[in-house]
Structure formats: structure tokens, C-alpha cells
């Protein structure tokens, strides 16, 4: 009897929630389209504004006027600006970001090799940041003002204030040169170079797919040190933010209510408070991840890591505009993608904005 009377509202609410989901998703997608368009516009105009003549970059300084003119026509620079922009967008969407002057390879191919290197570094760095930073922040928040809090504070301070190039060198000196626990600079030992077939570009993943476990561990031992150095920065940021979010949540009335019910302290912290703190925490973690995905020039330089940061810096120093703009575009797209993902996770985590 009750089941019969209760059925209609349940059924009515299901499409309601789905509908809200659909609307939210379409809103998100609209945002993505608009920001991507804006990104393309910005990269396009940067290329027009910078005092680097794209024609000269192709033909060289001493080209005669007719050669110069021919190249200008070939590049489509005589066409109106909107037309040039349309051509640019068309090229981007067919995967043509031009050719790098520096490497004389297609920028797309360059990025295809450098981005996975940065991706694995940033991902492991963020993972370290989350796995250590979140519990550390919780520990500090729960023991506010006590020694645990002080330790977390010092770790945060070190992570924030000690320069990456110094700690990177010291880490190499200690763990590579003295202790020999990890491999040195580079992504993989020479022995394994080019043995693993490139599928994703992430060497560890490719090695695993090939079943080359020795190569896998070799790549891991190259990766762990730079990832830990980046991870320290991430730990500092994530633990500080976790601490402050958790302190905020632990003061809420619902936490007292949970204790009144007889919920154990561990469950109060992990099930009730952290579940609420997680909502803003996702954004913080995503921000820190995006920051690392831009490529970290210093870390990549010290560890001879052929990542996006080094590639972009080199390109910039050599006025290799195609590479710079292509890289910027990729970083921008990754930003938009991670942002979208964070929004979706945020929606899933917080019923109030679902």
C-alpha cells in the first residue's frame, strides 16, 4: 500500500535530477566552447602583436624582396585578419600547429613527445602531494596548536620557501650520488632508450603495456626524485589548505551533532568533516595539478627532464613562435579540460550545487 503511494514522487524526481544534470552539463560545455574560442583568439593575436616577422623567420634576413613577397603570400598574410584567423582555427583543428624553427619538426610532434614527460611528472607529483598533504593537513587541523600542527607547519614552510633548484640538487646529491637509491637525470637509462615502443609517450605506461618490467622500474626510479621535489611543493600547498578547510568544518554544528549521535572521532573526521572539506579541496588540488602541468622549468632543467617547461622556455628564448604558441595552446586546453573535470567532480561531491 505504502509502496504504491510512494512510487509516483520517486519516479517524478528521477527525470528532474537528470534534467538538472543535463542542463548543468550543457552549461559547462558552452563555457568550454567559449573559453576555447577565447584561447584561440588570444594565441592568434599574440602571433600578430609580437615584433617577430613570421616571413623573415621563414626566409631569413637576406632574402630578396620577391622571395619575401612570395613567402608572405604563401603564409596568407595578405588576407584580411578574420580570414587569417579562420585559416588558423582550421589548421589547429586539423592538428597543424606549424613547424618549429628550432627542431625543424612539426610542433604537434614535438609536443607529443614532451607533454607526456611533463604529464607523468605532474601526475606523480600531485599524487604525492595528495597522499601526504591531505593526511598531514587533517592531522594538523585535529591537533591544532600541538606538536603535530607545528611539524605540518614546518613542512609547509620548507615546501613553500626552499627554492626548487636547491632542493633538487641536494636530493640528487643525496639519493643519487651518495646513497644510489634512485637513478640520475633523464627519463630512462640509455640501455632502455628506444626499446620500449611509444604508444602513449608516458614511458612507464608504455613499458607496462610491453611487459618490460625492468624498463618500467628503471623509468620509475628516474621519475621518483623529480616527482618528489615537485610533490614537496604540492604537499606544502595541499596540507595548508586541507588544514584550514578541516578547521572550518570541525567547528560546524553538524560535527557536534555527529558526536552527539555517538559517532567515533575517526568517523567524525573522515566521514563527516573531510567529506565536506573535500568539496573546496578538489579545486585546490586541481589548481596545483594544473600549475605542475604547465611544466616546471627549474625542475626539468636540473633533472634533464625533456618536458613541456623546458621545451617552451627554449622556444621562447629562440623566438620560435610556432612552438611557443602551440605549447601555449596545449597548456590552455589542458587547463580548460582539468577545470571542466573539477567542476564535474565538485558537482558530484556537493549536493547543493548538483
Amino acid at each position: 500500500m505504502t509502496a504504491v503511494t510512494q512510487a509516483p514522487p520517486c519516479r517524478a524526481s528521477a527525470p528532474g535530477r537528470l534534467g538538472r544534470w543535463g542542463r548543468a552539463l550543457s552549461r559547462e560545455l558552452t563555457t568550454v566552447v567559449i573559453t576555447t574560442f577565447g584561447l584561440l583568439l588570444v594565441t592568434f593575436f599574440i602571433a600578430r602583436v609580437v615584433p617577430i616577422d613570421p616571413v623573415l623567420a621563414v626566409v631569413g634576413d637576406r632574402a630578396p624582396a620577391d622571395v619575401y613577397e612570395k613567402a608572405r603570400l604563401a603564409l596568407g598574410l595578405d588576407k584580411p585578419l578574420w580570414h587569417q584567423f579562420a585559416i588558423y582555427v582550421g589548421k589547429v583543428f586539423t592538428g597543424d600547429l606549424g613547424t618549429s624553427v628550432l627542431t625543424s619538426q612539426k610542433v604537434v610532434d614535438d609536443i607529443r613527445t614532451v607533454f607526456p614527460a611533463t604529464l607523468e611528472l605532474a601526475t606523480l607529483g600531485t599524487l604525492i602531494g595528495v597522499v601526504i598533504g591531505v593526511p598531514l593537513g587533517i592531522l594538523a587541523a585535529v591537533n591544532q596548536g600541538r606538536w603535530q600542527d607545528q611539524i605540518a607547519r614546518v613542512v609547509g614552510l620548507i615546501g613553500y620557501s626552499v627554492p626548487v633548484f636547491w632542493i633538487g640538487l641536494m636530493a640528487l646529491l643525496l639519493f643519487y650520488a651518495k646513497l644510489g637509491w634512485v637513478a640520475g637525470p633523464g627519463r630512462i637509462s640509455v640501455v632502455w632508450q628506444d626499446i620500449v615502443t611509444t604508444r602513449t609517450g608516458v614511458i612507464m605506461l608504455d613499458a607496462a603495456l610491453d611487459g618490460e618490467w625492468e624498463a618500467f622500474w628503471d623509468a620509475f626510479s628516474h621519475l621518483i626524485l623529480p616527482a618528489a621535489v615537485l610533490g614537496l611543493l604540492s604537499v606544502a600547498y595541499v596540507s595548508r589548505m586541507t588544514r584550514s578547510f578541516m578547521i572550518g568544518e570541525l567547528q560546524q554544528q553538524y560535527v557536534i551533532a555527529a558526536r552527539v549521535k555517538g559517532v567515533s572521532e575517526a568517523a567524525v573526521i573522515w566521514r563527516h568533516a573531510l567529506r565536506n572539506a573535500a568539496v573546496p579541496l578538489f579545486t585546490v588540488i586541481a589548481l596545483s595539478y594544473m600549475h605542475l602541468l604547465e611544466g616546471s622549468v627549474l625542475t626539468e632543467t636540473i633533472f634533464a627532464w625533456p618536458g613541456l617547461g623546458r621545451y617552451l622556455t627554449n622556444a621562447l628564448l629562440n623566438a620560435d613562435m610556432n612552438a611557443v604558441l602551440g605549447g601555449t595552446l596545449v597548456v590552455g586546453v589542458v587547463f580548460i579540460g582539468v577545470n571542466l573535470l573539477t567542476d564535474i567532480i565538485g558537482r558530484l561531491a556537493d549536493p547543493r550545487v548538483r
Binding site: 505504502t2 510512494q6 520517486c10 551533532a257 563527516h272 567529506r275 565536506n276
Partner: protein
């Protein structure tokens, strides 16, 4: 309010000289200074101004005084068990199961990211070895007993999707599902619309008398306490000014026996039948706290 369940005549709660001190860098703040009372299966009101220590009394009974507060008492017994001798773990086992509390504002005291149903079920599963299905069944029954018409629909709602009155019913369901003997209601209707206040009180009253529970009703609303409680403790500055039968609050003939503070509070109440130009100010005598 004596019921057959109370055969031993033992009070549910027996507290002597309860003190709550907060050790702050600027000195010790005494929130409660020497409160004594016993609670049977009755409705006991605690009234007083803000900061008089009423809420801290409730928290002290539950062992939920926040850091840096320290609780002391000559005697604090729950049905013959010495609360002061128990460790944190044992005190936690009492919470929810034997002593529970309904808080002021359901908007803040329900976890925003959990459905209300799962929060009620959680309270049940902590204390009873029950499966998810049984806990759900019990929660639905409990929602029904706080007069929610479509329990199955409400069960899956999130706190922001329910009204204040419904939120407070959920709160009551959550705090009573493990069938505690004592319920502390800390201003349970202050955050609600006047129209739903009486409904909530009715539900609370029905459940408390039905189950023969002891109720500590903390409020600053003299009218409410007078009509809702059996006995009233008047607190000021962390001390008991006087304890009196609730009926006597309204009784003009007993005014001669009243404590000046109680009289002061009563005089501050505006009276619709006899409107006054100016309400008197409460004159507080430092000697009361001596």
C-alpha cells in the same frame, strides 16, 4: 510524571556541583559554577540569559565541552553509573544511545553532503548491530513517528532540500532512533518559524512522554518553558538562582517567594493585556554570584 518503568525510583541524572571552566590565555572563564540538580522521567526546563551557562550544562553532560574547557563535579551520575569515572570511549557509547541532544538550527546541524535518511540510519547503526536494510526500515518508521508523511521520499533528500520544520523533525528522529533515556533539547525551536514551533514541540512532547524519557529543555523563552515543562531551573552567570515548579512561573500569588532574578526576567516580558510604556531593565546583583 512517574511511570511504571521507573521502579527503582533512582533518578536518571544526578548532578552535584557541576563546574565548567575555560582556561584561556587571559584567565579562567567560569561558564558553569556549581550547578546541582536531579532529573527524573520529567520535563525539566533550564532558563536564563545568553551566557548563563545553560548550553554548557547540556554539553558537559554529553562530554562535549570543547577545548580548552574543563568539567568538574562532586557527583555526576547517570542511572547510578558514575559519569566522572568513565573514560572518553565509555562516554561516547552513552551518547546517542542513552543521552542525546536536539540542537538549535537544523540548517547547520545536519551534514549538508549526506541524505537525511542516511544520517538517521547512521545513528541507529552505531549503537545497534544492524544491517543497512534494517537501519533503513527503522529510520523510515522513525520518520513516520515524527509525522513526516512521505518517509521514503524524504529519506533521500539532502538537508538543503528540506524546510526548517522538517529539518528539525529529522533531527529529532536522528537523536531518538537509538531510544535514549535522556534528551537534551537545546533551544530546539528558536530557529524555526513561530507557526511550526508548536508542531515541533508537540512532536517532541509526545515522543518524550510516550517513551517515558527525561527531557532537559534549554530555552530563554519563559512562556514556552512555563507551558511545556514540569520543573524549571533559573540560571544566571553559571549558577542556579532557583528551582521551581513551572506552573508557579505564571502564578501571581507565589511572587513573594520568587528570587529577584526570576522576578526581573518575568518583569521583562511584555504583556499584551497590560501594555507598558517602558519595560524595566534587569538589575543584576553581583551578590547572586557570590
Amino acid at each position: 510524571m512517574q511511570t511504571s518503568a521507573d521502579k527503582t525510583n533512582q533518578p536518571l541524572l544526578d548532578i552535584a556541583n557541576l563546574k565548567v571552566d575555560f582556561h584561556t590565555p587571559t584567565g579562567i572563564v567560569q561558564a558553569v559554577r556549581g550547578l546541582s540538580f536531579t532529573l527524573g522521567r520529567e520535563r525539566l526546563g533550564i532558563v536564563g540569559e545568553s551566557g548563563s551557562g545553560k548550553s554548557m550544562t547540556g554539553r558537559a553532560i554529553l562530554d562535549l565541552i570543547p577545548h580548552p574547557g574543563v568539567v568538574g563535579a562532586d557527583r555526576m551520575m547517570f542511572r547510578g553509573q558514575d559519569l566522572m569515572a568513565m573514560d572518553k570511549r565509555e562516554r561516547r557509547k552513552l551518547r546517542g544511545r542513552h543521552i542525546s541532544m536536539v540542537m538549535q538550527d537544523p540548517k547547520f546541524s545536519l551534514n549538508p553532503v549526506q541524505t537525511v535518511g542516511s544520517q538517521i540510519a547512521e545513528a541507529y547503526r552505531i549503537h545497534r548491530k544492524a544491517g543497512a536494510r534494517e537501519a533503513r526500515e527503522r529510520s523510515l518508521t522513525m520518520l513516520e513517528s515524527v509525522q513526516i508523511r512521505e518517509p521514503a521520499r524524504v529519506y533521500d533528500l539532502y538537508p538543503h532540500e528540506v524546510s526548517g520544520g522538517m529539518g528539525q523533525r529529522v533531527m529529532i528522529a536522528m537523536m531518538l532512533i537509538a531510544e535514549p533515556e535522556i534528551l537534551i533539547a537545546d533551544e530546539p525551536t528558536s530557529a524555526l518559524d513561530v507557526t511550526v514551533q508548536l508542531q515541533i514541540l508537540k512532536i517532541l512532547d509526545d515522543l518524550v512522554s510516550e517513551r517515558g524519557m527525561g527531557l532537559i529543555f534549554i530555552s530563554h523563552d519563559l512562556h514556552l518553558v512555563q507551558s511545556f515543562c514540569d520543573r524549571v531551573i533559573v540560571m544566571y552567570g553559571g549558577k542556579v538562582m532557583e528551582t521551581l515548579p513551572a506552573a508557579e512561573l505564571a502564578d501571581e500569588t507565589t511572587r513573594g517567594r520568587r528570587h529577584p532574578y526570576t522576578l526581573g526576567l518575568l518583569n521583562c516580558l511584555p504583556d499584551l493585556d497590560h501594555p507598558r510604556e517602558k519595560l524595566p531593565t534587569l538589575n543584576r546583583d553581583p551578590a547572586w554570584l557570590a
